[in-house]
Symmetry: C2
Subunit: 210 residues, 2 copies
């Protein structure tokens, strides 16, 4: 067992690597923003989560300083109340990871890391052109978490862009078919393999494969 | 494009399936709790996320009624301020999915779904015995989200239980070696395949494979 006392004695990078691995496989997305001077920013985030389907809401945790990139993302979201969330496919993983470096404010990670910006009518924030699943969000709630100085950002989903054959008849998405990766910890990007889907669960019998 | 207006016209199950697929691959965990009458409960949750490494904090979103199981989990966490978070391996996926059914309060999903409880010295909540990665948490913060009536639960990580060979020298965990699954939407459980890990990112050059 690793207990709380042991955790506190771990060397910082060891502890960060361990604790970041604990939730399991995580979503990996690129968050695209623009500031009021039209400077764009894109930043890899692996703390996105589902908040609700009606209204359609997605949450994420953003860490401010000293991580420069996330701080710029947070400032831009608060200023424009608009951002894009773009899924990361396998071919994008290295460049997505590169966006976590501490770029200067006047450097756009789009250019520095090799992603093309995509603009859409009536939407202030840039999308990542090659992403197979692009979401446009409006800031719906901002909760600074006093417990550790991070920020909870909840956005309402305004736009969903995906290829026609990515959605199944039941409404769900074939993320594996889009070659989207699953993250682990701070630096690992997994492709996915076989999967099982189960029927809606009822108390009296085990769910069936669908 | 699917826009907000289109989303609102979708049939409910279609919309729920779509919106739950949007974050990408998600952690799948079993949350184990006990109430003050020593009735145990275990419930699958796929909205866990990393909040911070120092202190070690993990968050999750819990939906209260009408989903019975999550409501019991929330009540138990608020009553005992203690819960376990247990990773789901492939062989556990069907039974984990079964815990999402609306069981009565006096039915323990441990028995109904086929999981053994594991008790540990000085810890009130039950762990899921066969899980390869078991965490013991204390409630650190409870934030009801007025935006949609869900609850943000943040826990401090008090105990980590895993097999010796699951941790790499750098502190990170080999989740794939533990056969842990990645979730999609409401009902899909993926195994993972090949992966890439990249070096700590710096602005001036692309990260290298490690």
């Amino acid at each position: 067992m690793i207990d709380k006392q042991t955790l506190e004695t771990l060397e910082k990078r060891q502890r960060v690597a361990l604790i970041n691995s604990l939730p399991g496989f995580k979503p990996v997305v690129l968050v695209g923003t623009m500031n009021e001077e039209k400077q764009t920013n894109v930043c890899v985030i692996n703390s996105c989560f589902h908040v609700g389907a009606d209204p359609a809401l997605m949450g994420m945790i953003i860490r401010p300083a000293p991580e420069g990139t996330e701080r710029h993302t947070l400032e831009n979201i608060l200023a424009t109340e608009t951002y894009s969330v773009n899924a990361v496919a396998r071919a994008m993983a290295r460049r997505a990871h590169h966006t976590s470096a501490r770029f200067a404010r006047d450097q756009s990670e789009f250019y520095a890391c090799g992603f093309a910006q995509q603009w859409r009518e009536g939407f202030v924030a840039p999308f990542v052109s090659e992403s197979p699943l692009q979401l446009g969000l409006k800031l719906a709630e901002h909760l600074p978490l006093t417990i550790n100085g991070t920020h909870l950002i909840i956005g309402s989903i305004e736009q969903i862009h995906l290829s026609d054959n990515a959605q199944r008849n039941d409404g769900s998405l074939d993320l594996q078919g889009m070659d989207i990766v699953a993250g682990v910890g701070l630096d690992a990007y997994h492709s996915t393999g076989t999967y099982q889907r189960f029927s809606y669960a009822k108390p009296d019998k085990p769910p069936e494969l669908i």
